[in-house]
């Protein structure tokens, strides 16, 4: 599997899109740091960007990479390599290369700015960790969608819809349900609902850490009230791990039964 991972990773790292993605983060975080100077505020701004952009880019890259490497995959399938290792290797190669763009794009400016001497270091680490989680989650989901759909257009459509649903529509429905059912006790339901969406969950994870959950809407407030900061953090992390493991498990299952 490591060999496949290596080839996928270097293949992707050579593509210009990885550089565009890396440069984007580099420019955004440098200019935010330069303009604002307040690390805490910069982290919140970056959080809002990352929560939308990381899932979108991971989704698009995931389907694109799967469809573009079909030939490569077919060539590999005829070699003495375990099927599972081919797909896991490709997936991990993809997620790792996207994550490194994120890590270096954000890391370099913060490092130069002196994040290690700042009290905000843990908040920054949480930002990176959730970004990496979202990359792994959404590239796994999109890889799975591509694996199940031979039709590229359909694959792209489903992935874009899933992203739009989780990043935008979900919050709308969530708020709507809170307004419609405001006569009822809603704590448990809203908790469960926000756990089901990895983007919301990542937001909670960062906000709980930043200790400003009260400022950032109902979701965070409920979480803070219920779990206190440490338990909430642990639970959110566990659920993010679940969100990563489940699609990867599905990739293994689906790829094992597929005909090429």
């Amino acid at each position: 599997m490591l060999k496949i991972l290596k080839y996928s990773f270097f293949d992707l790292i050579r593509s210009k899109w990885s550089y565009v993605y890396f440069l984007f983060y580099l420019v955004i975080s440098s200019s935010l740091l330069y303009l604002s100077g307040d690390i805490s505020k910069v982290i919140i701004s970056l959080m809002n960007i990352i929560l939308i952009l990381v899932p979108l880019i991971a989704s698009i890259f995931g389907v694109m990479y799967y469809y573009n490497s079909r030939e490569f995959t077919e060539l590999l399938l005829a070699q003495p390599i375990k099927r599972t290792n081919i797909f896991l290797g490709q997936y991990i190669g993809l997620a790792v290369s996207l994550s490194s763009s994120l890590l270096f794009g954000l890391g370099i400016p913060f490092l130069i700015y002196g994040i290690f001497r700042s009290a905000e270091i843990w908040n920054f680490i949480i930002l990176i960790v959730t970004g990496v989680f979202l990359t792994f989650i959404f590239s796994a989901i999109s890889f799975l969608v591509a694996l199940k759909n031979e039709n590229r257009l359909k694959g792209f459509g489903i992935v874009i819809f899933l992203w739009m649903f989780m990043a935008i529509i979900y919050d709308g429905l969530f708020l709507l349900s809170l307004i419609v059912f405001k006569e009822y006790p809603l704590e448990t339901i809203s908790l469960t609902l926000s756990m089901l969406n990895p983007i919301d969950l990542s937001r909670i994870l960062i906000l709980l850490k930043l200790d400003i959950s009260a400022l950032m809407g109902y979701t965070g407030a409920v979480f803070r009230k219920f779990f206190g900061t440490d338990t909430g953090l642990l639970l959110s992390t566990l659920i993010l791990v679940m969100w990563t493991v489940l699609p990867v498990w599905a990739i293994v299952r689906v790829s094992g039964r597929k005909n090429f």
């Binding site: 030939e71 390599i81 375990k82 005909n259 090429f260």
Partner: protein
């Protein structure tokens, strides 16, 4: 005579299309077996099932004595030449060769000899997207013959080859056979069948319709050449 590949009661369908409907077949060691059949008769599906790329609904396949279901290590003994040469577009020929060698974890044997024979030298540093169909097929041949596997499965190996390359390919196949390699070839070129085949397997509608030598095929259907014999089978079964 030992059987290098044993297939028993193999079934596969894609949706409503039943492609293989109970194939029972053995391929013998150190022989050239040619699988024939009209388009869509299941030749490629059969080959891909042996490779584990297509997963059959039921039945068993044994390669060199081991059941292949959910296995992968047995593919070390097989080289495959796919019908359509699909390669990662951005690699050069040399990079592709290096990569496959690395993945197989086994040094290539006749690499430089093959590159010479098929005139691939000037193309080694060129990206695969920029190669013509015939040159791609030569790369395909290079990859299939490079590792000297006991079993070679060639799906339409003559596609797009010029006469010189064709003659060299035939010579190569005969030489490897003499060295004890076993071949499983599909083709539509009857001349090739006549020249190479030790054994013909004719597949029709997912079943083995005929298995035997070229001579026995001609005798059974009372025709002077294979082409006519095959045509007779097809017309008799209302396939065309």
């Amino acid at each position: 005579m030992s059987h290098i590949i044993q297939i028993a009661n193999l079934y596969k369908s894609f949706g409503k299309t039943k492609v293989l409907q109970g194939i029972d077949l053995n391929f013998e060691e150190s022989k050239i077996s040619v699988v024939l059949g009209p388009n869509g008769s299941g030749k490629t599906t059969l080959i891909k099932s042996i490779l584990g790329m297509v997963i059959p609904e039921s039945g068993s396949i044994k390669v060199m004595g081991t059941e292949i279901q959910n296995q992968w290590a047995y593919r070390e003994n097989i080289s495959y030449l796919p019908q359509i040469a699909n390669f990662p577009a951005n690699l050069t020929v040399q990079e592709l060769v290096n990569m496959i060698t690395d993945l197989r974890g086994k040094a290539a044997r006749d690499e430089s000899e093959l590159i010479n024979d098929f005139g691939l030298g000037p193309f080694m540093k060129i990206r695969l997207t920029n190669l013509s169909g015939g040159t791609k097929q030569k790369v395909n041949i290079l990859l299939a013959f490079m590792y000297d596997s006991p079993i070679l499965m060639l799906d339409e190996p003559t596609n797009g080859l010029d006469p010189v390359a064709l003659i060299r390919l035939k010579a190569l196949i005969n030489r490897k056979k003499a060295e004890g390699r076993s071949f499983l070839i599909t083709t539509h070129i009857m001349q090739l069948v006549e020249e190479l085949a030790d054994e013909i397997v004719f597949i029709l509608e997912g079943l083995v319709y005929f298995k035997g030598t070229v001579t026995s095929l001609k005798k059974t259907f009372d025709e002077p050449d294979i082409e006519k014999a095959i045509a007779k089978i097809l017309l008799k079964n209302n396939v065309v």
